[in-house]
């Protein structure tokens, strides 16, 4: 931080260079956590969504069960189970798993990833199912195999349809990440709670963090709008 900025901040009772640094660390943690869980979640969700649409119940059943469990329970409960539950398994401290699960970051990442993957699976499945029959029949008439059909016709059009619903999921995930602070992670909310309990200034501490969340949300909304404009151009009326 530049000297003059630090001097300016240190004149303020609450937003000193230390607390602003604390918020910054929190912002970095939140962005890391949300970005990683969304990317891994999306990578998991695409194959799962395809499996979910398969007619064979032995294939689609387990995926249905997975999404049912993770959409049917609160994320906070999932985080508690993964963070505190894993620590209670006898002997886990002696295995290499403990190097991963000792830190609160990875249990939180796991919980968030599994949760967002479940929701995203259902979003993509909905888009896959809604593919117009005509497109599939036309592809079949061209003699495309299942794989080629999936790659060239069904998935690209499904992704376009899923885009708007998925932008909601991204924003929800950002806001849901606030619960990471209950397992000692100092994310944005954790930083706000630390500053709140140090200065007993709930308005200042939480409004500051709310503004940061809003700025992040704005950024996400903006990116998705750019993406939609590009990907959904063919759906726009000509005179607009």
């Amino acid at each position: 931080m530049p000297e003059f900025l630090a001097d300016l901040l240190n004149q303020n009772a609450i937003f000193t260079a230390t607390t602003v640094g604390h918020y910054w660390d929190g912002l970095v943690t939140t962005v890391q956590l949300v970005f990683l869980s969304l990317v891994i979640g999306l990578l998991l969700a695409v194959p799962l969504a395809i499996l979910r649409t398969v007619k064979n119940p032995f294939v689609s059943g387990p995926v249905w069960l997975y999404t049912y469990i993770f959409r049917g329970t609160p994320l906070l409960i999932q985080l508690y189970i993964i963070y505190y539950g894993i620590g209670q398994i006898d002997g886990i401290q002696d295995t290499f798993w403990w190097d991963i699960f000792r830190e609160p970051f990875y249990p939180a990442l796991l919980a968030f990833t599994l949760n967002t993957a479940a929701y995203t699976t259902e979003i993509i499945r909905g888009a896959l199912v809604a593919t117009p029959h005509g497109e599939i029949e036309a592809a079949q008439a061209y003699g495309m195999s299942w794989l080629l059909r999936m790659r060239r016709i069904i998935l690209p059009s499904a992704f376009r349809r899923a885009l708007q619903a998925y932008s909601n999921e991204v924003i929800f995930m950002l806001h849901a990440s606030a619960i990471a602070s209950v397992v000692t992670i100092v994310d944005l909310t954790g930083a706000a709670r630390d500053i709140y309990s140090r200065f007993y200034a709930p308005f200042v501490a939480f409004i500051a963090v709310a503004v940061i969340y809003m700025a992040l949300t704005f950024l996400i909304v903006y990116c998705f709008r750019r993406l939609e404009r590009r990907m959904l151009r063919h759906l726009k009326p000509l005179n607009q």
Binding site: G87, R193, D194, S197, R198, Y200, P202
Partner: protein, 250 residues
């Protein structure tokens, strides 16, 4: 005449309101469980050192009291928002807090102490030995402030909202040490076989006092007088001996 009647009516209503404010029970906030200071018995009754002291204090002042349960995180904002009138929940006097609330004379002091597993071998005063250790504290406590101010460059501090979560993380080796109020550690850790006190307890701060709103200076005088009487007439000692086998009187 009509105006006079209305004015008289208003004055009467105001006086009735003031009389009511006087008789209104004092509402006292506690954060439970914080054994042995305030906790609930298995049948749900609120008890503990501070609860009994509060009861004795109310009796001494001749005021009726109501007890309110409030989580530590929001206990000062709740006071300022008039959800209750007093906090008697092991709140140590600190400069930051004194900016927001009015403290009575302190009524007890306990040291902070390091607790760890039996196998823990570390000199807590040796900063090079403490390097990189993961330390658990309760967020916003005097112990949190002490570790944050003196050791934040050395140790990795994890802050918890409740002691239960902290115990679980020490149990599963996520934490190397915890730094908590001695009596709390005694209750949570020394009651089990595999924990111990590490190093010497540290006396922190200016003691624990009743917290109230800044404007309630009159109430503060009454409370100080009542506490003084209790400390001198032996009531305080009787209650203390019931919960502690060491002296916390201040």
């Amino acid at each position: 005449m009509k105006k006079l009647l209305i004015a008289a009516g208003c004055i009467l209503a105001m006086m009735a309101g003031m009389a009511q404010a006087q008789d209104r029970p004092l509402r006292i906030a506690f954060d439970v469980p914080y054994e042995p200071f305030e906790y609930k018995t298995p049948d749900g009754e609120l008890t503990g050192f501070e609860v009994e002291l509060a009861r004795a204090m109310c009796e001494e002042m001749g005021r009726e009291c109501e007890f309110v349960i409030q989580a530590w995180d929001g206990i000062i904002p709740g006071l300022l928002a008039r959800k209750y009138d007093l906090i008697m929940s092991s709140m140590s006097i600190t400069e930051d807090r004194a900016k927001r609330v009015l403290f009575s004379e302190p009524y007890y002091i306990t040291p902070g102490a390091w607790f760890g597993k039996m196998k823990t071998k570390v000199d807590v005063t040796d900063m090079s030995a403490m390097e990189g250790k993961v330390v658990g504290v309760q967020r916003g406590t005097t112990m949190d402030n002490y570790v944050t101010e003196n050791m934040s460059d050395v140790v990795d501090i994890k802050r918890y909202t409740t002691a239960d979560d902290m115990v679980l993380d020490l149990e599963s080796d996520r934490l190397d040490l915890t730094f908590v109020d001695y009596p709390v550690g005694e209750e949570y850790f020394l009651s089990e076989d595999n924990y111990k006190v590490v190093g010497e307890p540290v006396k922190l701060g200016k003691g624990v006092a009743v917290a109230m709103r800044k404007r309630d200076t009159e109430l503060a005088e009454k409370i100080n007088a009542a506490l003084k009487t209790l400390k001198n007439d032996g009531t305080y000692d009787t209650i203390m001996d019931k919960y502690f086998d060491y002296n916390i009187k201040m």
